[in-house]
């Protein structure tokens, strides 16, 4: 058994750190003594270091189930940056030959990132059954509950897959799970003789100032956004609900605020996304207007503001998104701009993702096809069909999901409309208590000085197009 000195030495050798952040060492020790662990650490709390450390502390492959392709690719880039080469992301962008090669040599990789859909393929699962699994990690583990039932059913299969892999050492990581969600998650896995170790850090981010404003119409909201983006110094993210909106607001803010603004969403190709991330990291961009569905994988720790131009799906997602601000521990601000009816966008998303009773009945009776009800809904119904549930039982299941999602959305709306106690409402969702001394509500109560932002970093020169010979000289240190 490794002792604390060995663990510290590994930390120093691979990461150059002397000490752990709260929870990291406790979880590592639990895994090393054979427990399964659930780590609830705030966004930016160093969750990925835990499984990276496991990769160095004992043999075998660390398998990390990750929800988003972009997050997966960013994680691989981050591992590469740290000098780790035996890492791969198994995902749908690979061609058959590439996938075959990787599956044939899985044991050569210390870290494998994979989506639940890919892991649920028979030949993929077989390949993983042949290797020694160091730790089976489910990153963003709350997605099992929030996405599994009505968006990505393969998530629901993860406990079964974990069992089929011989119940290897299990690590669930999340930043946003209520106590009830944590219990639900733990209850789904068969651990054999292993015990659960749960480490819960408060979700609270006391350095993030909370502020909400209710406005009367779209024009006012746009103007208010313009004012705030112009006013608040430092790097920021504006969250919107669609790509189209991201593009148009980015253009508007560029023209009206004079700041360097770019739209960032899933429609960008890999190279374009890479360029924007790097520009943002290097402070050549001030503001990113992003869709919430699109994760930002590269850590920028000095983001000073996150403004929600649209509501998040629920408070858990809201927490996750504002958690990108102030990771350096310095003060930052999270602002939500709301007008009555904004919830309709999220309501549409709920309606669009959940199949109706008529769809469920029609699809199983083969009166309706995938074309009629949409690819995503059909996949979901195929999954439940395989579980041999009756049509009324499936209709009931989706009716319950709708109630849960609408109730979650309602909590989000209540937060937006709240006249007091923002932090207690937000933290209350996670079963925590908090005071409301670092927040404000309404335009009249907004004062930038109350946030106490640190001095903005030195602005890097504007990225303007220059002549090619200057670029070549800079790229290759030659002239």
């Amino acid at each position: 058994m490794l002792n604390q000195t060995d663990i510290q030495a590994t930390l120093k050798q691979h990461f150059g750190f002397e000490t752990f952040r709260p929870g990291q060492l406790e979880i590592i020790e639990a895994l090393l003594r054979g427990d399964a662990a659930l780590g609830m650490l705030p966004t930016g709390g160093g969750k990925s270091l835990i499984y990276q450390m496991m990769g160095y502390l004992r043999p075998g492959t660390v398998v990390i189930v990750t929800p988003l392709l972009s997050l997966m690719q960013d994680q691989v880039a981050r591992f590469n940056y740290l000098g780790e080469k035996s890492v791969v992301a198994l995902n749908s962008t690979m061609d058959a030959q590439e996938k075959f090669t990787i599956l044939g040599h899985l044991n050569r990789y210390r870290f494998v990132f994979i989506s639940p859909e890919m892991l649920n393929q028979a030949n993929v699962l077989q390949a993983f059954q042949r290797i020694q699994i160091n730790t089976f990690v489910i990153d963003e583990a709350h997605t099992l509950l929030s996405w599994g039932p009505d968006f990505r059913p393969d998530y629901l299969d993860l406990p079964r897959l974990h069992h089929l892999l011989g119940a290897p050492s299990l690590l669930l990581l999340t930043a946003t799970a209520t106590p009830a969600m944590q219990e639900d998650l733990k209850g789904r896995f068969d651990l054999g003789s292993a015990q659960w170790f749960t480490y819960t850090e408060s979700s609270n981010r006391p350095n993030i100032y909370l502020h909400t404003e209710e406005l009367t119409n779209q024009d006012d909201k746009r103007q208010r956004l313009q004012f705030l983006v112009h006013q608040i110094p430092g790097a920021g993210i504006v969250y919107v609900s669609s790509r189209k909106m991201a593009n148009s607001l980015a253009e508007f803010l560029r023209q009206e605020t004079g700041k360097r603004v770019a739209a960032y969403h899933g429609g960008l190709d890999n190279v374009a996304r890479y360029r924007l991330q790097q520009q943002f990291m290097e402070n050549q961009l001030d503001v990113i207007v992003a869709t919430s569905a699109f994760g930002m994988g590269i850590d920028k720790d000095d983001i000073r503001f996150v403004i929600h131009y649209h509501l998040s799906q629920d408070l858990a997602n809201y927490m996750q998104e504002i958690g990108r601000a102030g990771r350096d521990g310095q003060n930052a601000v999270a602002i939500l701009l709301y007008i009555k009816g904004d919830e309709r966008i999220q309501q549409h998303l709920i309606d669009a993702s959940l199949p109706t009773d008529a769809m469920i009945e029609g699809y199983y009776a083969k009166v309706l096809t995938q074309r009629d009800i949409g690819e995503e809904r059909a996949r979901l119904l195929d999954y439940y069909g395989q579980q041999k549930l009756s049509v009324p039982a499936i209709q009931q299941l989706f009716a319950e999901r709708r109630i849960v999602r609408e109730a979650d959305l309602n909590q989000m709306v209540k937060y937006a409309q709240s006249r007091s106690a923002l932090r207690p409402k937000l933290l209350g969702y996670f079963g925590e208590k908090a005071s409301s001394d670092f927040e404000s509500i309404g335009m009249a109560n907004w004062a930038l000085t109350a946030v106490g932002l640190p001095a903005a970093p030195k602005e890097q020169p504007h990225v303007n197009q220059t002549d090619w010979s200057t670029i070549l000289t800079k790229l290759f240190k030659l002239s």
Binding site: A77, V88, V271, L276, Q278, W468, I471, L472
Partner: protein, 352 residues
């Protein structure tokens, strides 16, 4: 991509089959699709969008129909409307359309481009002796090829050699083009610019920029071929991709045998292939080769041409039907008919 781009591939006069166009741009063709690609003068668009999904394409066409830009005259067969033709022209003014499409296919620029971008980043970081950076994303295959390529490089010469070749190439481009191309490159403490951050037309989309880049990298590959040797690191990098073989080996073997005077029946017998397969090989060769590089006279005798000329009188070759000339069940008849149509098409379109 704007759906209006697809209007570029349709015509106001010639009804065109949507599935042929899809097969061409996706590079999923059959002999018949390639023949119609020749008829539509769209062979140069071959393999432009290998990732295109059928649903995406279908939805775009539906939208164009709803907008009354395209008219379906029978299932799957479309004509540009008067309005659609105007939209097509407007699209051409506001967007980028490639000029060197045929060279792009030959040089396989689409595969070279991401490889170059990543190698360029590697060389740039190397020139600063920096090993700690976020690499651009690449497939495993690409990463492995690149690693092998890098290992084989003479590290004392790599940076100056790479730099000098790029410098010499950029000098051959118009100043603004060279500036934009270099601005897109990623390297040491250089994030590079996206198209909407450059001095490019404001009406452009990411797709226009993609097509524009394909064109520039095709120009780079042509430049390398004309001005550099295998010693050049970029040439060695390109060797990972290489030029596209004009025809698959089996087709080439059939075609070579035919040029050497063997009959199609003999070729089929010697190569243990079906006669229909050999005929398909020859027709494909005829479709893709210039008029003077295919031995039409071996098959289209004076008599045969005379008969066809008498029977196939419609000036619109698209309207020709095999049943008009069919006499027996001999499959050679279809071969002759199709080859005659190819020959006439090439003459009509002024192929050299």
């Amino acid at each position: 991509m704007n759906p209006e781009f697809y209007l570029t591939l349709f015509s106001k006069q010639q009804p065109r089959r949507s599935h042929v166009i899809f097969a061409l741009i996706k590079q999923q063709t059959t002999g018949s699709a390639e023949y119609w690609g020749l008829r539509y003068q769209l062979l140069d668009w071959f393999g432009l969008l290998p990732q295109l999904r059928k649903n995406e394409y279908k939805q775009a066409l539906q939208q164009l129909q709803q907008n009354k830009d395209l008219e379906q005259i029978e299932p799957g067969l479309y004509l540009l409307t008067e309005k659609g033709d105007k939209v097509r022209m407007q699209y051409a003014q506001q967007h980028y359309l490639p000029q060197q499409n045929a060279a792009r296919i030959q040089y396989q620029t689409g595969a070279f481009m991401p490889l170059f971008l990543q190698a360029n980043q590697v060389v740039s970081e190397w020139s600063y002796h920096n090993r700690q950076y976020y690499p651009m994303q690449a497939s495993l295959k690409q990463r492995q090829s690149l690693k092998q390529w890098f290992k084989n490089q003479d590290k004392t010469q790599l940076v100056p050699h790479w730099f000098n070749t790029l410098k010499a190439f950029l000098t051959t481009l118009p100043e603004a083009t060279a500036n934009s191309l270099a601005a897109s490159w990623v390297g040491h403490e250089t994030a590079g610019l996206n198209y909407d951050q450059m001095d490019l037309p404001k009406t452009w989309t990411e797709f226009d920029f993609y097509l524009w880049q394909l064109e520039q990298y095709t120009a780079l590959l042509i430049y390398l071929e004309q001005h550099t040797t295998i010693e050049d690191p970029i040439v060695q990098l390109y060797a990972i991709v290489g030029k596209r073989m004009q025809f698959p080996t089996s087709l080439q073997t059939s075609f070579d045998a035919a040029k050497n005077g063997q009959t199609l029946v003999d070729i089929a017998h010697t190569r243990q292939l079906k006669l229909g397969t050999v005929q398909e090989h020859l027709l494909t060769a005829a479709i893709w080769l210039p008029l003077d590089q295919f031995p039409y006279e071996q098959y289209l005798t004076k008599d045969l041409k005379g008969t066809f000329a008498q029977k196939l009188t419609d000036p619109d070759i698209d309207a020709w039907r095999f049943k008009t000339v069919r006499e027996t069940a001999d499959i050679q008849e279809f071969f002759n008919f199709r080859l005659y149509a190819i020959w006439q098409t090439k003459r009509e379109q002024g192929h050299a």
